[in-house]
């Protein structure tokens, strides 16, 4: 198949970027979207043009590294898919495809399609941990966790931090990401001890990074590759309200 691309090119964070047009012939429809970009880069290198920079790692849909805006939607036209798991068969022959970086003030563009998502790391650092005693491993059944509880904690923990929730949000809110990280720990007995400090610190960090307010449009859940439920946001709000009311 033949495709026409409009790709965002930007030298570095401080430079102004713009959309550049490229054409690719003989694209195999079984290629993944990232493989298509590899082919584009090969073509650009042969022409002596700087290749397009984009983030990627496992290419199995589990690491959360890849993620670009494809035709105005994070990770492209499919629901709950990462960019690497999107294939060219989802596009028509001759289609024009716009590729832009995820945009948010808290995600500055580093180069082309690569954005700096370290704001997510700092949210995790502010409270996404539990304090444990060092020493011998404790007896495994000392802390009982039922299977349904473990499963629902895992549903929240499944967030791969790709940033699609922020990219799709009209307010650039990181509520889905932050709430998934908070809920994951709030559900488990090990996380109860620091629950109050955790939610307050993580919400404060989320705000300090410059993310917007969640207005519950629920767009994030639709594009999330891991199908993280928006009800985690409700639970974050619950934990936050509880912490505010009960803290000394």
């Amino acid at each position: 198949m033949h495709i026409r691309l409009k790709v965002w090119r930007q030298e570095n964070t401080d430079s102004a970027g713009k959309l550049e047009s490229y054409e690719l012939q003989n694209v195999n429809e079984d290629m993944s979207f990232l493989e298509m970009l590899d082919v584009l880069n090969e073509q650009l290198m042969k022409q002596g043009v700087r290749p397009v920079e984009f983030d990627h790692d496992c290419r199995e849909g589990i690491c959360g590294q890849c993620g670009v805006m494809i035709n105005g939607r994070p990770h492209g036209p499919l629901k709950n898919t990462t960019t690497c798991q999107l294939h060219m068969r989802s596009f028509r022959d001759g289609e024009e495809i716009y590729i832009e970086p995820f945009r948010a003030t808290a995600f500055p563009v580093k180069c082309d399609l690569k954005v700096d998502r370290s704001s997510f790391d700092r949210i995790i650092q502010s409270g996404g941990f539990i304090s444990v005693n060092t020493g011998q491993a404790p007896e495994a059944n000392t802390t009982r966790i039922s299977s349904p509880l473990a499963e629902s904690a895992f549903d929240a923990a499944a967030c791969i931090g790709c940033g699609a929730c922020v990219a799709v949000c009209k307010n650039s809110s990181a509520a889905l990401f932050t709430s998934a990280k908070i809920t994951h720990m709030a559900l488990l007995p090990q996380g109860k001890e620091e629950a109050q400090d955790r939610v307050l610190h993580m919400v404060n960090q989320m705000d300090a990074e410059g993310f917007g307010h969640c207005t519950n449009t629920e767009a994030c859940e639709v594009v999330c590759p891991q199908e993280i439920s928006v009800l985690h946001i409700a639970r974050m709000n619950w934990e936050f309200n509880k912490a505010h009311i009960l803290r000394k």
Partner: protein
């Protein structure tokens, strides 16, 4: 208490829910306008007089004014912060396909409602409180006749109904969003609130819209 994105939303939710509660009371009072003319006039005027004289109602009305102002002020603060959170726009934006249009346009719907409120306060609230109104047979200010006159104008009824549609969509998102902000996360109650939100929003807005339409065409 330091202001976070979540605390601002809590204020939006609490003021919004108070306004939701007020709408129920307001609608119940207004439904008296649907009674037969003679009975309706005396009863509605007596009801208006009762409300304007009661100290409890006075306190509630101050909370109401404060809620409207706080709801608007917080909406502006939140919108300004959200605009700062996304300075650069997408050149090709299809994000609208994954959420409901009214959930993304609460500010626009809210502005329509605000304009309606200004008209509404000028036509009824201001005239009742500070204007000269003739008295009815029992010596109460004749608000009923004023309402009938205003509702006899076709353009006014049209604007009223359009504003009620805007209010309906605003409530539809607002009611459920408030519950979420306050932290209702249990899937069962989330489902109930969605259904309740629909019943509430459509019920309130249809109720309000029926009154001027009925008065205009049938009274």
């Amino acid at each position: 208490m330091t202001q976070t994105t979540l605390t601002r939303k809590i204020w939006m939710a609490l003021t919004g829910l108070f306004l939701c509660f007020f709408l129920v009371i307001h609608l119940l009072g207004n439904l008296q306008l649907l009674l037969p003319a003679a009975e309706s006039q005396l009863q509605f005027n007596a009801y208006s007089h009762l409300l304007s004289g009661n100290i409890l109602i006075k306190i509630i009305s101050w909370v109401l004014y404060a809620s409207i102002i706080a709801h608007v002020v917080y909406a502006i603060i939140i919108t300004a912060a959200n605009t700062r959170a996304q300075k650069q726009k997408y050149h090709y934006d299809r994000r609208g396909t994954v959420s409901k249009w009214y959930s993304r346009n609460m500010g626009l719907l809210g502005t329509i409602i605000f304009i309606f409120l200004v008209i509404h306060f000028r036509d009824f609230w201001y005239v009742y409180k500070f204007g000269q109104l003739p008295l009815d047979a029992r010596g109460n200010k004749d608000l009923y006749t004023l309402v009938m006159e205003v509702y006899s104008q076709t353009w006014y009824v049209g604007v009223y109904v359009i504003c009620m549609v805007a209010l309906c969509y605003h409530l539809l998102h607002g009611f459920f969003s408030a519950a979420r902000t306050l932290g209702v996360y249990h899937p069962k109650y989330v489902r109930w609130i969605k259904v309740l939100g629909w019943i509430y929003s459509v019920g309130i807005c249809a109720g309000f819209a029926i009154i001027p339409v009925y008065v205009h065409f049938l009274k």
